[in-house]
C-alpha cells in the first residue's frame, strides 16, 4: 500500500476548460523535480505520514474534477445563514460610540443621555466593562518591535477617527444609533499623525507614548557582505520609489457578531463572521477573564473576509461582554460606513528600492527600504509587523538575487489600524520587483521578458539570499507560455499598429511565486509569539456509512465544503454526496488556525487526507477480522473494503454496523466507533505557487481611462483539487489586484478625518470595470502536502498590480513619464499623456 503519486511531476499545461486532462508536457522538467516513481514516503520530505490506504486510482475520481460547489444550492436559493440572518429570542442590537477625531485625550465620556434614549437598554464604556487589552507581540527585542495594547474600548486617549469608545445596546438598530448620537464626549485634541512622513518627522507627536518615532517595528535584514561595492561597480543601477494607496479588503458581508450566554453550558456563544474562530475564542476568554472552555465561537455562512476577518475585532469582544452583563443576546452588524472607515485596513506602503544589474541584465543586488503605515494599533495575533516582515523576508521572489539588504519599518499613525489583506505586501513588492526589471530592461535595451528569463530561478529546490528555500515551480515555463499566448493572439502587432495611429497600447507582465502553507516553522521564523501553523481534522463515519469531516480551517468563500470533501471522498472511495464538511465551531475540533495565507488546502487539506487515511486503516482492520484474512490482503474500494485475491467485499455500512451496534464483534484491540483525528503541519519553508500575469491596456488620451484589453494568467498551484474553484479564486484575486492598481484608496483629510465614507468616494470597481481573464494551468505537484496541492487563495491579487502598472508604463513609454504609485487614476494618466508630442 504505497501512497499514490499526486500526478505527473513535470509541470503540464492544462487547457482552460479541460480540468484534469493532461497533455504531453510542453516544457521540460526543471531539475530537482521529484521522480514520480519514487515511493511517496521518500519523495515527501514532509512530516511523518501514516500509511496510506487510499483506493486505486479509478476509485478516486474527485481530486482534479471541477465538481460543482456544494455551497451553491443553499446560497443561490437564499437559504444561506449569515450572521445578520440570526434572530434570537430577546435579542438586542448594538452600535458603537466612535471617536469623531483622529487624536485626542478623552476628557469626558458621558453616557447619561444615551441611556435615556427611548429603546436604549444599556450603554457601557471601557470603565464599565473593564476588559483586558488585546496585545499582539513578537519575540523580538524592543529595539525591533514595540508591543502596544489595543483596548477593547478606548480609554484615556483616542488614536483614530472611528475608534470605539462605548457600546450602546438597544431594542433595535435604529434606537442603538439614536443612542450613539446622544453620547457626549469631551476631547482634548492632540496633533494628528496622518502620514508616514508626519510619523517619522523629528518631534512628531506620539501615537503611543511607548513607541518612539512612532515606530512599532524596525528590522534590518540580510545585508549581504560587499553589497555596497556591488552597487558602486555595477554597470546598471535602477531605482523605484513607490507609494501604494491604503485599501480596504471590503468583504461584501461586513463584520458582525451575535453574542449570547448559554446557561446550560455556562458558556458565552459568539456567532461571529471570522476567519479564525479559535483565535477569537482564545482572545475573548482572556479579555473577559473566562476559562477558554466557557467561550464557544460558531461561524455562520460568510460573505468574504480577505484577511480583514483573520484578526480579532474589538467589537466582537465588547458585544460578548455586553451580552454577559445583560443576560440577553446582543447582535452587532457593522454598517458600511463603519466598514469603510473603522474596520481593519491595509496596504499603505512606501518602497524605496535599488537594483544593480550587470551589462547582460543579470541582477547583482537588491537594496530596499520599506515603510508600512500600519495605522493606530497592532492587530492580533499578527502584529503591525505583518506587512513589513512579509516584504523584507520575501522580496527577492522568483529571481536569483545574489545580494540583498533590506530595512523594513512599521509606523503607527492616527488612522484605522491594518490587518493582513489578501497577498500581504506581495502585491506591492512584486510590483516593485517587476518595475525594477522593466526599468533595467529599458536601460539595457533588452526585451522585458528576456531580462526576466535571465534571472528567474530554474533549479529547484533553490535557497535564496533571503534564506528561503523554494520548492519546484514553473517560473520560466509560465512566463514563456504567457508571452506566447499574447504573441499568438497578435497583441504585439496590435500595439505597433496602434502606435502608428497615435493610440497608446501597452503590454506588461508580472512573474511571482507565493509562499503558501506557512507552517509553524515559517511563522516561528517571523518570531510571532502566537505561532500559527498546524491544522487538525477529525473524520467520523456513522452507521449509514456517511462521513462527517471536521476541520479547523474556515471557508469564507473558498469552497472548502467542496474541495475538502473531494479529498476525503477520494481517500476513502466515497461518493462525494456521502461526505459532509463541518467547520467553524470551536466546540467541535480541538484547535484550528482558520483560513488565511493560502493555507487551507495545503495544510487543512493534508490533515483531512491523513485523518481519512487513518479511518481507512481502521475500516480495513475491522474488515480483516470479518473476512478472517490479514489486513494487508485488503484494499479500499468504492464504499467498501475488498480482497482482490478472491473478490470478497465488506461494505462500509456493514463495518459501521459492527463498529457501533455490534461492537462485541470488533477485533480485540479495536475501539468502538469509526473516528480518526490527524494533524498536519509544514515543517519547512512552505510551498510556493507561482504564476505569470500578462496584461494589455489602452490609455485613452481624452479621459485618461485605462482600458484593459486583455488579461492572461498562467498559474501553477500544483495539483488543482478543483480547477473551477482555482479559477474562481484567481479571478476574484485579480479583480482585487486591479482594484488596488487602478481604483481604490482610503483617504483622510489633514485632520485625519476619513474622506472616503461611502462607495461614491471609495471606488471599488464593479463587474463593468473588471475584464475577462483567461487562465492557463500548469501543474508542478507539491512534495510537502498530502495531495500535491499548493495554496491558491492570494495569487491573483499578488500578480495583478505589477502587470497592470507595467502595461500602463509600457503605453506611456513615448511620453517619458513613469507612474509608480497606486492607484493610477484617469487624472494621472491624462496628465502623463499631455507629454505626448
Amino acid at each position: 500500500m504505497t501512497g499514490p503519486t499526486p500526478g505527473p511531476a513535470t509541470p503540464v499545461r492544462r487547457e482552460p476548460g479541460e480540468p484534469g486532462k493532461s497533455r504531453e508536457p510542453e516544457v521540460t522538467a526543471p531539475q530537482g523535480l521529484l521522480d514520480e516513481d519514487r515511493p511517496a514516503e521518500t519523495a515527501r520530505p514532509g512530516p511523518e505520514h501514516s500509511g496510506h490506504t487510499a483506493p486505486a486510482r479509478e476509485d478516486r475520481p474527485w481530486i482534479g474534477a471541477s465538481v460543482g460547489r456544494r455551497e451553491d444550492p443553499r446560497l443561490l436559493s437564499g437559504n444561506g445563514q449569515f450572521t445578520d440572518d440570526i434572530d434570537l429570542p430577546g435579542m438586542l442590537h448594538a452600535q458603537f460610540v466612535r471617536s469623531t477625531v483622529a487624536h485626542a485625550r478623552i476628557t469626558a465620556l458621558d453616557l447619561t443621555a444615551v441611556r435615556q434614549v427611548p429603546g436604549v437598554v444599556a450603554a457601557f464604556d471601557a470603565q464599565d466593562l473593564s476588559l483586558a487589552d488585546i496585545t499582539a507581540r513578537l519575540g523580538r527585542p524592543l529595539t525591533e518591535f514595540v508591543p502596544t495594547g489595543m483596548p477593547v474600548l478606548a480609554r484615556e486617549k483616542v488614536r483614530y477617527a472611528g475608534e470605539p469608545l462605548a457600546i450602546v445596546v438597544a431594542r433595535d438598530a435604529y434606537a442603538a444609533e439614536d443612542g450613539v448620537e446622544a453620547a457626549r464626549v469631551g476631547y482634548d485634541s492632540l496633533p494628528p499623525v496622518v502620514s508616514e512622513e508626519q510619523a517619522l518627522a523629528p518631534d512628531a507627536p506620539l501615537v503611543h507614548d511607548e513607541a518612539s518615532a512612532n515606530t512599532l517595528l524596525d528590522v534590518s535584514m540580510f545585508a549581504t557582505e560587499g553589497i555596497d561595492g556591488t552597487f558602486d561597480e555595477a554597470p546598471c543601477v535602477v531605482h523605484v520609489e513607490t507609494r501604494t494607496g491604503r485599501q480596504n479588503a471590503l468583504p461584501l458581508e461586513t463584520r458582525g457578531v451575535v453574542a449570547g450566554w448559554d446557561h446550560r453550558e455556562e458558556q458565552l456563544v459568539l456567532r461571529t463572521s471570522t476567519q479564525v474562530p479559535h483565535q477569537v475564542r482564545t482572545t475573548a476568554a482572556r479579555c473577559l477573564g473566562l476559562d477558554e472552555r466557557a467561550v464557544r465561537v460558531v461561524v455562520p455562512d460568510m460573505g468574504g473576509g480577505f484577511g480583514q476577518k483573520c484578526v480579532v475585532g474589538r467589537e466582537e469582544i465588547a458585544a460578548g461582554a455586553a451580552a454577559i452583563r445583560l443576560g440577553r443576546p446582543v447582535k452587532w452588524i457593522e454598517d458600511r460606513k463603519d466598514a469603510l472607515t473603522a474596520a481593519f485596513l491595509a496596504r499603505e506602503q512606501h518602497y524605496d528600492v535599488r537594483a544593480a544589474f550587470d551589462a547582460e541584465g543579470h541582477i547583482l543586488g537588491l537594496d530596499a527600504a520599506v515603510v508600512c503605515d500600519m495605522g493606530a494599533y497592532s492587530c492580533y495575533p499578527f502584529t503591525a509587523g505583518i506587512e513589513p516582515l512579509m516584504a523584507s523576508a520575501e522580496m527577492p521572489g522568483v529571481y536569483k538575487v545574489p545580494a540583498y539588504r533590506v530595512r523594513a519599518r512599521a509606523v503607527t499613525t492616527n488612522k484605522a489600524p491594518t490587518a493582513p489583506y489578501r497577498g500581504v505586501s506581495r502585491p506591492q513588492y512584486v510590483m516593485v520587483m517587476e518595475r525594477l526589471f522593466e526599468r533595467a530592461a529599458r536601460e539595457l535595451k533588452l526585451e522585458p521578458t528576456e531580462i526576466r528569463r535571465r534571472n528567474l530561478i530554474t533549479q529547484f529546490p533553490y535557497t535564496g539570499v533571503n534564506n528561503v528555500t523554494y520548492d519546484p515551480g514553473s517560473y520560466l515555463e509560465s512566463l514563456n507560455l504567457c508571452e506566447s499566448v499574447l504573441k499568438e493572439e497578435g497583441w504585439y502587432a496590435a500595439k505597433e499598429t496602434a502606435a502608428a495611429q497615435g493610440r497608446h497600447l501597452g503590454i506588461g507582465y508580472s512573474c511571482f511565486s507565493e509562499r503558501t502553507g506557512y507552517g509553524s516553522a515559517a511563522f516561528a521564523q517571523r518570531k510571532m509569539e502566537v505561532v500559527p501553523g498546524f491544522d487538525i481534522s477529525e473524520v467520523r463515519m456513522d452507521t449509514s456509512g456517511a462521513l462527517v469531516v471536521t476541520t479547523g480551517t474556515m471557508s469564507h468563500g473558498q469552497s472548502h465544503e467542496t474541495t475538502l470533501a473531494q479529498i476525503a471522498a477520494d481517500e476513502l472511495g466515497l461518493d462525494i454526496g456521502k461526505v459532509r464538511i463541518h467547520q467553524g465551531d470551536t466546540d467541535r475540533i480541538t484547535y484550528g488556525w482558520g483560513t488565511f495565507a493560502s493555507r487551507s488546502v495545503a495544510i487543512g487539506g493534508s490533515a483531512v487526507r491523513l485523518a481519512a487515511g487513518k479511518l481507512g486503516e481502521k475500516l480495513i482492520a475491522i474488515a480483516a477480522s470479518v473476512l478472517e484474512v490479514p489486513p494487508d490482503e485488503l484494499e479500499l474500494g468504492p464504499g467498501l473494503v475488498r480482497r482482490p485475491a478472491d473478490g470478497r467485499t465488506v461494505s462500509y455500512e456493514e463495518l459501521a454496523d459492527i463498529a457501533y451496534l455490534k461492537s462485541h464483534l470488533l477485533p480485540k484491540d479495536t475501539e468502538p466507533g469509526l473516528t480518526a483525528t490527524a494533524s498536519f503541519d509544514v515543517l519547512n519553508d512552505g510551498t510556493f505557487s507561482n504564476a505569470t500575469h500578462g496584461v494589455v491596456v489602452e490609455l485613452h488620451e481624452g479621459t485618461g481611462q485605462v482600458e484593459i484589453l486583455r488579461y492572461v494568467c498562467v498559474e501553477d498551484c500544483g495539483v488543482a483539487i478543483n480547477p473551477k474553484v482555482v479559477e474562481g479564486q484567481t479571478r476574484g484575486g485579480i479583480a482585487q489586484g486591479i482594484a488596488g492598481a487602478l481604483f481604490e484608496q482610503v483617504t483622510y483629510d489633514e485632520q485625519g478625518a476619513p474622506s472616503a465614507v461611502s462607495f461614491m468616494e471609495y471606488k471599488v470597481p464593479t463587474a463593468l470595470e473588471i475584464p475577462e481573464v483567461s487562465i492557463h494551468h500548469l501543474e508542478t505537484p507539491c512534495a510537502f502536502t498530502e495531495t500535491g496541492a499548493k495554496g491558491v487563495g492570494e495569487g491573483g491579487t499578488i500578480g495583478a498590480p505589477g502587470a497592470v502598472l507595467n502595461a500602463v508604463n509600457d503605453a506611456l513609454l513615448p511620453t517619458g513619464v513613469e507612474l509608480d504609485d497606486t492607484p493610477v487614476t484617469p487624472q494621472t494618466v491624462a496628465a502623463a499623456l499631455e507629454h505626448t508630442s
Binding site: A173, Y174, A176, E177, D178, E181, D335, R336, K337, E701, G702, T703, G704, Q705, F743, T747, S755, V757, S758, M760, E761, K763, P765, T766, L768, E769, T825, P826, Q827, A830, A831, E834
Partner: protein, 307 residues
C-alpha cells in the same frame, strides 16, 4: 446607517400631498423612488420628520406627445421606463432621452428612480437636470394654490436646491420640441457613478429637418452637402458648477464655425473648456475637468450628428 425616526404619510392624490406638505412645512420631504433621499437619510445627512410618499399616485407616470410635438414625462416615470419606451411613444426626435438613460446609475437604480425625483433632487451632475437645461424643458409643479410651469433655466439654483417650494410637488416635465440631433455623454471612473463631467449638445444643422415631426428615423431627410453649417446649437455641461450650465460661447462657435465635422467639434470643445470655471475636488482637478470637456463635447457633437 439607520435613519432617524420619521413619520410616514402615504398620499392619496397630488392635492392632498400638497396640503400635507403645506401643513408640515420644512420638516417634510417628498419621497418617490427614494434612490437619493433614502441613502442620505441612512447617513443621517437628511433627517426629515415626515415623509410624504407620492410613489403610489396614479396618473403621474408615462410619456405622451401632445399635438404641438412636445413630450410630456410624468414625474413618477422611472428611468428604466424611458430607456425601454417603444418608438411610437418615444420617437427619434427624443432619442437623446432614451440613450442618455444608460448613464443613470445601474439597472436596479433605474428601475426605481424616477425622472421627477432626479429633477427635484437637483444633483449638479444628474442626467435629467442636464437634459432639462439643454432642451429648454419646463417643469410643472403643483401646490395648494394650483399649478405653475418653471423653465429649466430658472429651476436649478445650486447644489441640491431648486425653485420648488416646500409645499410643491413636481408632477411633470415637458420637453417642448424634438431634438433629433442631440446627444449626452459623460465620464466617470466607474460606470454608473455620477459623472466627473457630463456634456450634452443639441444641434440644428442648416440642412437638417426644420422642426422635424417626431416621426421616427424612417423618412427623415438625410444630411447632404449644403455647406454643413448649424442654424442653431445648444451646449450644456454638468459637473463643472453647482448646477448644469449652458455654454453660450461654445454654442456661438458652433453656429459661426463650419463646416461641421471633427475639426469644428474639437475647436468648439476647446472653447467650451475655456469658457467655464470648473471646480477642483476629489473627483478631479479643474485642469482635468477641462481635458474631459474637450473630449466629451466633441464626442457629443459626433454622436448627435451620427443620428
Amino acid at each position: 446607517m439607520k435613519p432617524a425616526a420619521f413619520t410616514y404619510h402615504r398620499a392619496r392624490d397630488v392635492e392632498g400631498a400638497a396640503r400635507l406638505l403645506a401643513e408640515l412645512g420644512d420638516d417634510a420631504k417628498v419621497i418617490a423612488g427614494g434612490q437619493s433621499l433614502v441613502a442620505m437619510m441612512n447617513f443621517r445627512l437628511a433627517r426629515p420628520a415626515h415623509l410624504v410618499d407620492i410613489g403610489g399616485l396614479s396618473g403621474l407616470d408615462g410619456l405622451r406627445t401632445d399635438a404641438g410635438g412636445a413630450l410630456h414625462i410624468g414625474a413618477l416615470t422611472t428611468h428604466h421606463a424611458v430607456e425601454t419606451a417603444p418608438p411610437e411613444v418615444l420617437g427619434a426626435g427624443f432619442a437623446v432621452l432614451r440613450d442618455a438613460m444608460r448613464w443613470v446609475g445601474h439597472l436596479p437604480i433605474r428601475t426605481r428612480g424616477t425622472v421627477g425625483g432626479s429633477l427635484a433632487h437637483g444633483d449638479a451632475t444628474a442626467e435629467w437636470c442636464l437634459l432639462a437645461v439643454l432642451l429648454d424643458a419646463e417643469l410643472v409643479a403643483r401646490g395648494p394654490d394650483g399649478e405653475r410651469r418653471i423653465p429649466a433655466a430658472e429651476f436649478f439654483h445650486g447644489y441640491y436646491t431648486t425653485a420648488l417650494e416646500p409645499e410643491e410637488i413636481l408632477v411633470e416635465v415637458v420637453f417642448p420640441r424634438p431634438a433629433p440631433y442631440a446627444a449626452l455623454t459623460e465620464f466617470a471612473e466607474r460606470r454608473g457613478d455620477f459623472a466627473t463631467v457630463s456634456a450634452a449638445v443639441d444641434l440644428e444643422p442648416a440642412d437638417g429637418p426644420e422642426g422635424a415631426e417626431d416621426s421616427g428615423r424612417e423618412g427623415e431627410p438625410e444630411l447632404v452637402g449644403g455647406g454643413g453649417r448649424f442654424r442653431a446649437a445648444r451646449v450644456a455641461l454638468g459637473g463643472v458648477a453647482a448646477l448644469p450650465v449652458r455654454v453660450p460661447e461654445a454654442e456661438e462657435a458652433l453656429v459661426q464655425g463650419g463646416p461641421y465635422g471633427p475639426e469644428l467639434y474639437a475647436q468648439v470643445a476647446a472653447v467650451a473648456a475655456e469658457s467655464v470655471d470648473p471646480p477642483s475636488d476629489a473627483n478631479g482637478s479643474a485642469h482635468y475637468r477641462r481635458t474631459l470637456i474637450r473630449t466629451l463635447v466633441a464626442h457629443a457633437c459626433e454622436e448627435a450628428m451620427s443620428r
